[in-house]
Symmetry: C2
Subunit: 253 residues, 2 copies
């Protein structure tokens, strides 16, 4: 009798407060050792963008920011920090919605999210905000290269962040950068058990992996890293950009 | 030394083709037995809407459908089946976007998704389409009641479907109905390790559980059911409607 197939979402130990210049690989090594965790071939490492951005120094000291007129007016109207709004505008390629105190923009990297991903929580200073990593795929590739060399097998990496969605309440984790696995599984051209040709079946599996990882990370638990074990990922090289809808096909920009 | 915390996503055995009137609980029992799977207290059952809709008979025979003018024109312009478009229009409360061959609508149940959730894949007949369950929370509650009574402990149930998203490529599993657990975790009012008050931190955990379940279901693997084990869910009674953004706050309708 076959055993049930399973995928495991594993937590490592606690992380310290990450500050610019810290070696994330060393922190991951320590957090793994804390709970006697050993990576295995086939594992996928999911890392929240917050510690990546902090380690890379993608932080802005708001005391150095001179808000523009637009930032000042919007902040005054909606009781926001004008300096933080200015950072959001600087991080934005275009504004998707600016209404009712909500600012949804396209980042220079092409992600559409609230406040261009600029975030003041879990940053560690009243006047410091955190930006998205400059190159999330590159951050994932660097972690993957060092960890894979140490381990002697390939360890794909996903950089995750929690984004809001149109139409649905609440935020969920998604993948903004990745290395060592495909971002999507494309079932188009395959047929179901009845011979019906699947036409709209591209699964955003990296987003689903990021969402699964969030379940064990928790928002306040100080677990910025998780490992997915047992998922038969496609090792074709993907990118966080693969998960951005083609602007020409996107009806909600 | 503490063991790493973990969440497991477990598959049951294969399901037969589900047809109207079938007893899903009996099918779940058989699929569990096939892989010697025993439910445990704390498990969460995730069931795809497709088998729920089929068992409940939420199917439409397209040979009985008379397409309206609008359905005929749209179908002709975009090489669609006018009868299927007519079913989409009937399942819709309002049209969110109708452009470039894409039809995104709000269903009578309040979900915003492509084609009002009407789907021809994995249905089992060239002229049959599948609708969303009439009452996904009710479907979840019925499965939960029967299974919990059999098991002697509470088994929360999530009904999932795969939805597209604005801005992001690919579909992911989300929760459209649930019973026995909260749909979201609300961190608002809590402070992070630095004393920063979290303001925009409502996690759509039922959507993340649905996404995690999809990783083991697979689109073509005939696994319409998965079990999540080890997730410390909030047993407060939730609803799939909790995951729909308040229309008054939704900037993308």
């Amino acid at each position: 009798m076959p055993a049930p197939a399973e995928i495991r979402v594993l937590a490592l130990g606690r992380f310290p407060e990450v500050v610019p210049g810290m070696d994330l690989v060393a922190l991951i090594r320590t957090a793994a050792a804390e709970v006697a965790f050993a990576f295995q071939a086939g594992d996928i490492l999911v890392v929240t963008q917050k510690i990546v951005s902090k380690a890379e120094g993608a932080l802005v000291d708001l005391t150095t920011v001179e808000p523009s007129d637009l930032a000042q007016r919007w902040a005054a109207a909606w009781s926001k920090d004008a300096r933080q709004i200015e950072v959001v505008l600087r991080e934005s390629k275009h504004i998707v919605r600016m209404l009712n105190g909500v600012l949804i923009t396209e980042t220079h990297g092409g992600f559409i999210c609230a406040n261009a991903g600029v975030d003041a929580s879990n940053v560690g200073g009243q006047d410091i905000v955190c930006l998205l990593p400059r190159d999330p795929d590159g951050s994932a590739a660097a972690l993957r290269a060092t960890l894979s060399a140490e381990l002697g097998f390939d360890l794909p990496v996903i950089i995750s962040d929690s984004f809001g969605r149109a139409w649905r309440h609440g935020i969920i984790n998604v993948a903004i950068g990745l290395s060592g696995l495909a971002a999507v599984t494309d079932y188009r051209g395959q047929t179901d058990a009845h011979g019906y040709l699947l036409s709209a079946s591209i699964l955003a599996v990296a987003d689903e992996l990021a969402a699964a990882a969030e379940l064990i990370m928790g928002k306040l638990d100080g677990r910025p890293v998780a490992v997915i074990r047992g998922y038969a990922y496609d090792p074709a090289e993907g990118s966080g950009r693969d998960l951005i809808m083609d602007p020409a096909r996107d009806l909600f920009r």
